[in-house]
């Protein structure tokens, strides 16, 4: 049946049906997109990082740099060993520390500490850092990433939970007790 102006009844129904499905599509797309991007939404608010204990201060003798490990605060039961993260703790003196991410600032390979030469060396592309984490040689464009830390009672705490990135690092104040 054609209405005046060449508009058919079926044509109108088809357009309405397509419009109806477009609306349904949008209603479904919003939660799907939010689901896919949930790791990013979570990062923005409330964030991943929280204060974690690295254990007693006695584990970190003054003047030395030691490997410490912690269980990532954001963790799933099936994460297994991947949620165990390592970091380097440098006890400068008294309450002064530096806590470095294990990841080379170049491409995130794990750096190793050589106390004899007081250098961090990366096994992948040869990035080298001094004891204070500053860049010594190789491809990295910056020093090692650092965690914020605080000393509470007998324990050393760091603010951790996320892979270090240059942008994140720019917002971190690696300061110590003053921030606590």
């Amino acid at each position: 049946m054609n209405l005046p102006g060449g508009i058919s009844r079926r044509g109108v129904f088809l357009k309405l049906a397509v419009f109806f499905n477009a609306v349904v599509g949008i209603i479904l797309a919003v939660p799907i997109v939010r689901y896919i991007f949930s790791p990013m939404i979570r990062q923005r608010r409330p964030g991943y990082a929280s204060w974690i204990s690295l254990g007693s201060l006695n584990n970190f003798p003054a003047g030395e740099t030691r490997l410490a490990t912690y269980r990532n605060p954001v963790v799933n039961p099936w994460d297994g060993v991947t949620a165990d993260i390592a970091c380097w703790v440098r006890h400068v003196d008294a309450d002064n520390f530096q806590v470095f991410a294990i990841n080379c600032a170049h491409l995130w390979c794990p750096v190793r500490w050589f106390p004899q030469s007081s250098l961090f060396m990366c096994p992948c592309h040869g990035g080298v850092y001094y004891a204070d984490g500053s860049r010594a040689a190789g491809p990295p464009e910056r020093g090692l990433f650092q965690y914020s830390y605080k000393v509470e009672g007998d324990s050393l705490f760091i603010k951790a939970g996320e892979m270090p990135t240059p942008t994140l690092a720019a917002n971190i104040k690696p300061g110590g007790p003053r921030c606590a």
Binding site: F37, P39, M40, R42, Q43, R44, Y48, L67, T69, N72, V74, V75, N76, P77, W78, D79, G80, V81, T82, A83, D84, I85, A86, I102, N103, H106, L107, W108, C109, P110, V111, R112, F114, Q116, S117, S118, L119, M121, C122, P123, C124, H125, G126, V128, Y130, A131, A136, A137, G138, P139, P140, E141, G161, E162, M163, T165, P166, T167, L168
Partner: protein, 495 residues
Amino acid sequence: MRLIANIADWFDRRVQLGGPIRETLEHPVPRQAASWFYVFGSAALTVFVLQIVTGILLATVYVPAAGQAWDSLQVLNREVTLGWFIRALHGWGSNFMVAIVFIHMVQVFLFGAFKFPRELTWLAGVFLLLMTLGMAFSGQVLRFDQDAYWGLGIGAAVSSRIPLVGPWLVSFLLGGPIIAGATLSRFFALHVFVIPGILIAIVGLHVLLVLKLGINEWPRPGRPVSRETYLREYRELTRKEGEPFVPDAVWKDVVFSGFILLSIAACALYFGPIGPGGQPNPTIIQTVPRPDFFFLWLYAVLSLLPSSLETPAMLIGPAIAVLVLLALPFVSGEGEKSWRRRPMAVLIVMLGVVAFGTLTDVARDAPWSPVMDAWSGEPIPAKYLTKRTALERQGALVFQAKQCHNCHALDGKGGQRGPALDAVAVRLTHDQLIRQVIQGGGNMPAYGKNLNPAETNALVGFLETLHPAGQAPAQDASRRHTHETNAAPSSSTPR
């Protein structure tokens, strides 16, 4: 037999596909195109089917959870009957697939098969290449070992450098704040559902286009492609010189595919399954991560680029490469097909092959990586210690203890990050050696804070003995002059 024919007939009267299938199988192809050069596409498809079958078999055992993936691979390797063989087939199948897809692409490029009217076939092929590489990388991630873990780290580190969206992209890629369960699950979904789905769809389009447009004829020099006349010429060619694809042309494809499957099985049998390496435990830092064979060249590029070029090259380079590939059939859609008349095409392929080979070869030695245990594992050659003073031997000890050997080779042993030091005394004078050790520079860290004066003195004393017999160590000209003029009247020999 009659029963089978009757059943087939019963089905065909309902699905009505027999006619189109027969027509497709018997479509005429130019006689010269039934060549051993034209077998790589079908071989890639065959290997893809092998990957699907072995992949499904592996998925019946593999656990895509970060805490158990590595263990399930061990079970596959050791406990499940012939689990090791299926893993080996899948792993070697992946290597063969990447190689065959590349060879196919080079052949298509050199034979001008991307030109009119097969532009879309080429575009589909470019996406198939990208998807194949995506499968190779995500497959390496599913082999959830140390290399996979740190390889993901490299991927995330590259993403983190993208301006503005970097950190968000990292969380998106990893599925969370760190490389963990969510990351593996993501890559599992990519490797098992998303990319294969896209692959199957594009393979369908690719094969459909080959059937619709016909296989590329054997290119003859001096017979350029023109948009106006090509279709007519091709129809004429297949009419005059055509032969049915089945059975006249297909036997070479079948033989080659069989040969490839046999080669994969032989590699699987001889070399066994690939990995897994050490557990994906980020607290085990005594590791030297290396990518799989086909990404070694990339590893070399990332190591050899100057720092200032690195980020732009990593972020813009791949985009430019893909754009160039996509633009090719539109920029060069007509003209000569034969490689005999396309010297630039031949040069580009040769340059690509040489660059790939060289970078891969360099990456296997990775001279830019320090040898992390050379200081304790590689002794100083005895010839550099005999007839030396106590101070010089003390210097050799400093050389080892301060990890100099990790970056500097002696007698071919040790790191190659810095120059070999067998003849360093010929290149640098006493003062230059001290300056270099204390201040570093030229990619060497400064050791000023880490060596006391006695250690520096001993180390430089040792380094000054490193010169070939009969070749004098370098000496500062002005200092020698001062020494000579000072020494002349009293004829003493100061040092």
